[in-house]
Symmetry: C2
Subunit: 403 residues, 2 copies
């Protein structure tokens, strides 16, 4: 008889975002006249920019005029070249080291395919839920006893003690997920933080998978835009970027992974290039990303589009600052929000993140995400997203008086 993957059973929590949707729906029914301000899921609030729409529609029209068939599984050269020319070339990355995909979420989970199940994996906590869920689904850890950590995962606490960022653990591990600027705490790794991680990775021959989905929000001088700005990174780190936030592509789906050829992993007694395995994986398991979407992504890297999208990015940062200032003015404790549109808001003493989330939703009609939804070490905080507009941010600050 066909047998289901038994590891799915180990995931006992429900996926956070659908639960939030349900709670939101319930409050909407109970308070039909009250406007709920949504600072929950980090989704864009601005339409696509004109020069991106232009390239997108042009490519669509083109597909009605000539045959555009299967593209390369790892992406079109024109887009890889644009990635190199716009930034990565200066770090010494080559076009062949760029792999185009449908999203950073896909890259985060699909990269596990090329890695042995025996690798010890380190995952930040709190973090975006898919890193851990994918590791569990893949059978990379034994089940957790109720409320406990998964026994074969190395948790990297992102708490007050660690400055809300993952720090190298004392013991060695094989594969490390990093996310910087970090979702959900809104903090970002500095140059010296990266240097420590690269030293650690070299010492333990470990692989770093850096989710850099929020890179476009980086404004601090000591926070590198790319890990490859830091010496030695090309030997140990895969970097993931997306057009979702930098160009408003959440509904279009396009991202890329940088997999330098120098990165090796053990295969029996030999070393093997992960670049080679990733190529093999993508060729066998995907037919690549939609042609017009890749054309739009290419256009988003042009100077003109960059000016247009930077307006939105700046606006998100302004609203984030507005919310953060408002919180502080009302005596609240919060972190993040400088290089990232997320604010990590401390719950009142003794109040759980779910209770605070419900209080904010029911009383202030503000939707945020309870920190515990991102992992046990997110307890005691809620995440407030700055993907919002001026009106909503101002209104939210007003409502804070009712706290």
């Amino acid at each position: 008889m066909s047998k289901a993957n038994p590891h799915y059973q180990k995931i006992t929590r429900e996926y956070i975002f659908p639960i939030i949707d349900k709670e939101l729906e319930q409050v909407r029914e109970e308070h039909p006249n009250k406007k709920i301000l949504n600072f929950g899921v980090g989704d864009i609030v601005h339409p696509l920019k004109p020069s991106i729409v232009k390239a997108l529609t042009k490519a669509c029209t083109e597909m009605g005029e000539k045959v555009v068939g299967y593209g390369p599984s790892t992406g079109y050269h024109f887009l890889k070249k644009a990635v190199i020319d716009s930034e990565y070339g200066k770090y010494g990355i080559k076009a062949s080291e760029v792999f185009i995909s449908e999203g950073t979420i896909n890259d985060c989970v699909n990269l596990l395919d090329i890695l042995d199940v025996d690798n010890e994996i380190a995952i930040p906590d709190p973090a975006y839920p898919s890193y851990l869920d994918a590791a569990i689904m893949d059978g990379r850890t034994r089940a957790a006893k109720k409320g406990n950590d998964f026994p074969d995962i190395i948790y990297l606490p992102c708490t007050e003690e660690t400055g809300f960022l993952p720090r190298p653990p004392k013991k060695g591990c094989d594969v490390i997920y990093l996310c910087s600027p970090h979702n959900p705490t809104g903090m970002a790794l500095t140059r010296s933080d990266y240097e420590q991680w690269i030293d650690y990775a070299k010492e333990h021959d470990a692989l770093i998978i850096l989710d850099a989905a929020y890179e476009c929000f980086i404004r601090s001088d000591n926070v590198p835009k790319s890990i490859y700005e830091v010496k030695g990174a090309k030997d140990v780190a895969i970097e993931l970027r997306t057009f979702s936030k930098s160009a408003g592509f959440t509904g279009l789906r396009c991202a890329y992974s940088i997999v330098p050829e120098a990165i090796k992993a053990k295969l029996g007694k030999e070393d093997v290039s992960l670049h080679k395995l990733w190529t093999q994986r993508q060729n066998a398991k995907s037919n690549g990303v939609s042609y017009p979407v890749q054309r739009a992504a290419e256009a988003s890297l042009s100077k003109k589009a960059h000016e247009e999208t930077t307006e939105d990015i700046e606006d998100y940062l302004i609203q984030t600052k507005r919310l953060k200032d408002g919180l502080r003015d009302h005596g609240q404790t919060c972190y993040g929000g400088d290089d990232c549109p997320y604010i990590w808001w401390k719950c009142p003493e003794g109040v759980s993140s779910w209770d605070f989330f419900r209080h904010l939703l029911n009383e202030l009609h503000l939707l945020c995400i309870p920190g515990a939804g991102f992992g046990k070490r997110g307890e005691g905080y809620v995440r407030l997203s700055g993907f919002t507009n001026e009106e909503a941010a101002k209104e939210a600050v007003k409502r804070l008086k009712k706290l």
Copy 2:
């Protein structure tokens, strides 16, 4: 130290399509003045149809005017509804049983995620290479000794003895890949063939994964358009469809899987719904398909677009018939091509499929795919694709005189 997935080593053959590209490139360099006719990779030769381009560009323009953010991981309801209204509703399938994805290749390999590695998997031979490659990469079989079958895979021969279609094996198995109309042999399973498979699946509590990528080419009365036309299928079969061939979407990327809620698999001592696991997988591992692509797919199911795309489908079938008649007129033995744009052409006695492929490429300048590239039991045949235009098909038939 980070360790690579050791199962990748077990794949000793190179992926077929890139090899073909290399051989083609070489012949082009040697004979720069000779026009090579491409009957190789089954890619479309007609541009997107006007009403599809219209819906596509409209959705793109819309994204510049209003915010279209993250869509549902399993696809928009409007597209699921269109799939139900245009066909699947009449088989009793519900919109919630339709899952939108980037391609049938993705569904074929990703479905393995929700199935235990201990399942015994049956795979047709010859077949599209990704079914086997994905099973190997996942660690679902021990390595094969040189030239031998993989020991833990149940091969379903599609040879002269089986009518070039997979038949239920004597022994039981847990998961069965079927592809009908079958790539590469070009033959299609009839109603009574499906009845036998459904009986077999029920007897062994096995799951059928049917790749129906070429469904739109079915013209024979006794060949069902969907497995759900046959009684009992909803308890045992997942059906995969794509817009790649039916609407010329190879460069746009959109497909869907039908996963009926009734299908169960064993999980410890209990039965679990694969629909539930597939939903969980797609939520955790994907953010769905590009919005404008889903709008284009929806449009392709309209009456008007269907008339437009049917012209192309009919044209491919006409060219396939032209090629097949030409081959037979020249005394060649070939199969398939009635409900599928692929012709399974028998090599001359004692000539290997790679030798015949090279002979056709070098002497007649016809590109096809050697049968052995689809598996050991494809030896002795080449696949000729009818995705071509009238001029090329006529020219090919002329060149057959030189055989």
